[in-house]
Symmetry: C2
Subunit: 106 residues, 2 copies
Amino acid sequence: MKLEKAAAQLEALGNPTRLQLYRILVRAGDDGLAVGSVQGKLDIPSSTLSHHLKRLVDTGLVTQERQATTLICRANYPGMNALIGYLADECCADAVCAPAVGKALV
Amino acid sequence: MKLEKAAAQLEALGNPTRLQLYRILVRAGDDGLAVGSVQGKLDIPSSTLSHHLKRLVDTGLVTQERQATTLICRANYPGMNALIGYLADECCADAVCAPAVGKALV
DNA sequence: ACTTAATTTCGAAAAATATGGAAATAACAT
DNA sequence: ATGTTATTTCCATATTTTTCGAAATTAAGT
């Protein structure tokens, strides 16, 4: 993973609203969630939500699939894994932190 | 870890200059690196660097220790591990991505 | 074609971030 | 005390981000 891409993904997640949004999608699992359903959970205007979603989609953290008029959004696990892998590699280049990453697995 | 804190750390890392800066500190290992040495590697004005460093320190990703006139900076591994753990937990809440996280360990 | 529902784009204002020169501070040596 | 080096704070500016109402678009359903 290139540093620029990692930074873009980190920045995308580095906004409380978007991180919350991403969490909601993760919790929705493989079924995903329609934009409208997400809006119900976040209670923000649709245009604001659309901008945030776009950011997550553009950076490869979320995917979207049309079903008639509704747009299903899903957390893109491979994208997140690549990011976590990048961070872990950066973090563990010299150190000491493998155990804690391991802990996240349990 | 609280969502707000995770978001602040992600945002701190979500800037190419700061991510590069953080990488440099990780690679410097336990010895750390003086602010001036970092500046030499990044080639940015000291005031700009100081702002970025402050952001990483404030969010708990970097620590600093005075040695006479120079300030030694170190990557704060526990801070990063907590963040990676948070992301892994969020990501793996329902899914499918444990194997990839495992891969990051190797 | 017309309507309805879902979502995005446009446009614009407020807020936050990024950048860096110049001055201030910190810590020490002489 | 003065000088020197290292780093931060102050200040101002340019850019980017965030926010959201209103209008436009998309995709059915009737």
